[in-house]
Amino acid sequence: MATEGKGALISVIGDEDTVTGFLLAGVGEVDVRRRTNYLVVGDKTTTKQIEEAFKEMTSREDVAVVLISQFAADSIRYLVNEYDKPIPAVLEIPSKDRPYDATKDSVLQRVHHLMGAEDAAATTTATGAR
């Protein structure tokens, strides 16, 4: 698998400063088909473009982690919430002007729902035992 051994790519979807910063750290890649592993989300970026970039990056075999700023994830929340593959891992990251909101994080939401489901199951069992 491309994700083991030599390593796989880290994709980034975020604002200009976030993407520039991660590119500065050396994660940027442009392949021979001029396909990039990042998307700069600006004022003119449409939801459809973010959606297509997210779908493309999560289907690539040479990508292990997809970093997406939380404000971009909010615009395609339905896609992020229903994504459940372990690889590539999708991480919601904060941006410079929008602090991290744990209540919107898809992974933590899943944990929260699970806690609620476990409580309901325990209540059902206790009621049935009487």
Binding site: A8, G21, L24, E29, A64, P94, Y100, L108
Partner: protein, 241 residues
């Protein structure tokens, strides 16, 4: 039944610990990202608003030198407790050095057409037609050779040079490929400023934090998936029908 209950409780405790760690790591990630973007702001203040922008990315030679490797590992329950196996991943940052692209193999040159036998083993430069010869050939092909008033005098140019020779165009992309990719910090200027170095260091720490967050969330996903299966089974057992 008791063993399953113990496993579920340990899983629940582990989920709570991982949730707390995930939130802590993401808050730290947010602080580090903010530190890096402040460095960009200082750079823009010193060098102008376009000192750091998307237009400076080097799309010709951009190659990832920082990658991440994902190694699968299984999550087992406490010793002595049977548990369904769940798979999470360990993420490690891998630094790969620059690898310049291999130069394309040169095309084989055509054999010399000297018109003489190469018995002496010497390679001769192919005879290049002069403009006059080319013109005469063209006239002959069109059937107009006889209409020429006089045959143009052939210039004594046997040095292989063409009258219309012009210097070959400079292929900047080929030169850049030969030199190899530059470090991203050099996209923004030949001599990186302290602000850019500070931003580079901050975002390098961000990549390490992202690897740690990915590992924690991977284990969280595996545990929640396993707990979901247990909850469904518990619900089916408790169902009177």
């Amino acid at each position: 039944m008791g063993a399953d209950k113990a496993r579920e409780e340990s899983d629940l405790v582990r989920v709570l610990e991982l949730t707390e760690e995930a939130v802590r790591l993401k808050l730290a990630l947010g602080d580090t990202i903010r530190e890096g973007t402040f460095a960009f702001s200082r750079q823009r203040y010193a060098r102008g608003p376009h000192a750091v922008s998307e237009t400076q990315y080097d799309l010709n030679t951009m190659r990832a030198t920082t990658k991440i490797s994902a190694t699968p590992r299984s999550i087992d329950g406490p010793s002595g407790v049977s548990a369904p196996r769940s798979t999470s991943y360990t993420f490690n940052v891998v630094e790969t050095p620059f690898e310049p692209e291999p130069e394309p193999e040169p095309e084989p040159k055509p054999a010399a057409r000297s018109g003489k036998a190469d018995d002496d083993g010497l390679r001769r430069r192919p005879k290049v037609k002069t403009n006059t010869e080319k013109f005469l050939e063209r006239m002959e092909a069109l059937g107009l050779r006889d209409q020429l008033a006089e045959v143009p005098r052939e210039a004594d140019r046997d040095d292989g040079k063409d009258d219309d020779a012009s210097p070959p165009p400079i292929d900047i992309d080929a030169i850049r490929r030969k030199l190899g990719p530059r470090k991203p910090i050099h996209w923004f200027g030949g001599l990186p400023s302290p602000e850019m170095r500070s931003a580079e260091a901050a975002f390098t720490r961000c990549v390490q934090l992202c690897a740690r967050v990915a590992e924690v969330e991977s284990e969280l996903r595996a545990l929640t998936a396993r707990a979901r299966v247990d909850a469904v089974q518990l619900h089916e057992v408790g169902d009177p029908s």
